[in-house]
Symmetry: C2
Subunit: 331 residues, 2 copies
């Protein structure tokens, strides 16, 4: 491949099935609010049977980030596993139509699993509770990693959720090695506090030994360092990694570089659907980085992209992010 990529992302390739629900729906169905629940096929069928009419929009945390980057004009590629089925076709169409390269081999036809999907239940407060049936996205393996593509990446962006697959740890290691050997840098997002809880040691080892940049929200970071105090978590993080961007909801974000913390404020916004806020923050931040902007600007760009995504249903941008950056003097 002769192309260079600003960012190459790896994660769970999913289609989101979004529906508004009342608070009671979450309680009655035993769904803890605001987090991602991994569910199996029978549970997926049961929950879908309970849900009201829905809307389908391509999703997948890392894929949302790559879609955002492509919309911003970055050269971006995505690696994630779908099948040759209708949801797989929808996923592939949407990310390519946004301008990203997506060439991961399709999962074998006829096998048991289908393309993965995430039932996103949006409560009246705009919070989203995710119920993910991973399907074939679970089977992302080292063979899916094209070292040529990884070597062509200025930045690698790894989705923490994929730590839930043993083969994907190896896939990540292969990707990081190929990227760094060619002079690229590697980043990871922690994805979810419970995902961090399931794979704390692996996350901490990778962050200390292999990574140049860590993305997290406050809950994920506190889970990583097993503390209820954000300042303490930020302090521990500053010792582990050279660069980190930690979102703190309506308070914006903290950027940590070589131990020094900078706060990035954000504008107040009405949250229609929080799905994808962290994903789009990462898109804006990484775009700023690849453009060589100061870190405070990168943080602002992250907050602008996140602000767009929480203003509507779904985790793929609807308003031209490039124009939003230009309006803010960051174009």
């Amino acid at each position: 491949m002769n192309q260079n990529f600003d960012v190459v992302g790896i994660g769970n390739a999913l289609v989101d099935i979004l529906a508004r629900v009342e608070e009671e729906f979450l309680t009655e169905n035993g769904i803890e609010k605001g987090i991602m629940h991994l569910i199996d096929r029978p549970r997926a069928a049961e929950l879908y049977g309970q849900m009201g009419p829905a809307t389908e929009i391509s999703g997948g945390s890392g894929a949302n980030t790559i879609a955002g980057l492509a919309m911003l004009g970055a050269q971006a590629a995505y690696v994630g596993k779908v099948k040759d089925d209708q949801l797989g076709a929808i996923f592939a169409h949407d990310i390519r139509a946004q301008g990203a390269i997506f060439e991961t081999p399709l999962a074998a036809k006829g096998a048991d699993h289908e393309t993965g999907r995430c039932m996103v239940l949006v409560s009246p407060d705009g919070e989203r509770s995710m119920n993910t049936y991973l399907g074939v996205s679970e089977h992302l393996a080292p063979a899916d990693i094209d070292v040529g593509v990884m070597g062509a990446a200025n930045w690698l962006y790894l989705e923490g959720y994929r730590f839930d697959g043993a083969e994907s740890h190896e896939a990540f290691a292969k990707a990081i090695a190929a990227c760094k050997r060619a002079g690229g840098k590697a980043s990871v997002t922690l994805s979810d506090p419970f995902c961090v809880d399931r794979h704390r040691d692996a996350f901490r080892r990778m962050i200390r030994d292999d990574l140049d940049l860590l993305f997290a929200n406050e809950h994920e970071l506190m889970s990583l360092y097993q503390t209820g105090s954000l300042p303490e978590a930020l302090g521990a993080c500053a010792e582990d990694v050279q660069l980190a961007a930690v979102t703190v909801g309506p308070d914006g974000a903290w950027v940590i570089e070589n131990g020094a913390r900078t706060h990035v404020p954000t504008r107040p916004a009405t949250v229609i659907d929080a799905t994808g806020a962290g994903d789009l923050f990462a898109a804006g931040f990484l775009h700023g980085l690849t453009q060589g902007r100061p870190l405070a600007d990168c943080g602002r760009m992250g907050c602008i992209a996140a602000g767009e995504i929480i203003g509507h249903i779904g985790a793929r941008p609807e308003t031209d992010l490039k124009s939003l950056m230009e309006e803010a003097g960051l174009g």
Copy 2:
């Protein structure tokens, strides 16, 4: 079946694939604005390849009407053909989750066609241009008509688009006969001016001989009577059918009963996406009828439901239609 139905609808069971496009996209792809284009599989693939990222929402004109009726609290059932595939599962889930009965036998597995879909291109003026790959919805046949269900219907609602299938003419005839034999009434919507052009004689014969109620918009009605004058078309219509409801966009609707015309005004509204306006007008109107309301109220209810659907992307209601009717004193 021991249940009675307020309305039973029959039509093309489709999933909508919605995307915003610029005017140039329509010109460059040779798509005439505002109408429905029947397309084959290669054209569907070509067009999808050109389209930007999209959102999937269950659609199908008659199915949108039935979903609206179910949301209004009516006992409603739908008949339309999907396959045992992912889009078929989405269609079936969404209409059932709205409270409608949907029991049409699935199209045979392994056959060539898939569940049908409609690529809805929404231009900046809110107008929608539809590109329909019918898939298995084309094969709705007399065998799919359960005479027990038809006999249990107070109102039958036939989607004009289905006149594009020879077997469906027979299916419609079977449904009308069973419904009317049991004392029910039958209605049809003309669906699209070019569809009317393709099947003018069949429409006119059915309207004169078999139907109790005709739904149309001004363009469809003028196409039916081959005139450029709406008053002339309304006059001709008044001679053909006992009851008709004709929508006239932002000017509301005309209701014709036994030759007498009544105008129903509507409130000005911003059109985000016109998809489903006629479908939801029919839902509101039929709901009023089955509740025994005066025709002027039925017209108002149609306009209220249509007003909801044009205010957002997609042709399935997002706001509780029942509450909207109550707010207008029509609950």
